[in-house]
Amino acid sequence: GEEVAQTPKHLVRGEGQKAKLYCAPIKGHSYVFWYQQVLKNEFKFLISFQNENVFDETGMPKERFSAKCLPNSPCSLEIQATKLEDSAVYFCASSQSGGQGNQPQHFGDGTRLSIL
């Protein structure tokens, strides 16, 4: 498609439950990025993929967060044993080849994750 599609728009989970977010990048884009935006507006980089391969995962809290981009499937970001501090809007973005940092990133509408 022509837009980055993120689902669901809003996800509510009890503390300790699992949360799974999905992202379909723009067709033809090779790079996918996940960001976490908390109330202060600051964007925290989590992970990036080049096609189905992890490109940069330096921002991932590895003990509970995992992500995948499998062929012919939406990318996913999964949080195990959620904590209150995981409440945020999670944005997915995609960019064309060469998108390590010198191509515009196209963002989805985000998934608002609320941990109760």
Partner: protein, 111 residues
């Protein structure tokens, strides 16, 4: 690691006044991008600057990249209510592989 600082954090202006947000990197950048996020929306790419001292204009918006490629600014002339939102700069360090976002400047406008 690379850090990108953006000031001010908030700016409130009267409609018609000018607005400027500044972005400073701890390291030399290969390029810098600017994004706008409307309230409740997602970031939208505005522009990319690559060359030292580069200046680009989009209607009432003027973007500058510093000579040392460590700082950048966005200036809006004669703000309109449609300019409301948060403006983010995002820099890519030389040899780095990802964009680092500034904290954003939230612009509100009194009509």
């Amino acid at each position: 690691g690379q850090q990108v600082m953006q000031i001010p954090q908030y700016q409130h202006v009267q409609e018609g006044e000018d607005f400027t947000t500044y972005c400073n990197s701890s390291t030399t950048l290969s390029n810098i991008q600017w994004y706008k996020q409307r309230p409740g929306g997602h970031p939208v790419f505005l522009i990319q600057l690559v060359k030292s001292g580069e200046v680009k204009k989009q209607k009432r918006l003027t973007f500058q990249f510093g000579e040392a490629k460590k700082n950048s600014s966005l200036h809006i002339t004669a703000t309109q209510t449609t300019d409301v939102g948060t403006y983010f700069c995002a820099g890519c360090g030389r040899g780095a592989q990802k964009l680092v976002f500034g904290q954003g400047t939230r612009l509100t406008i009194n009509p």
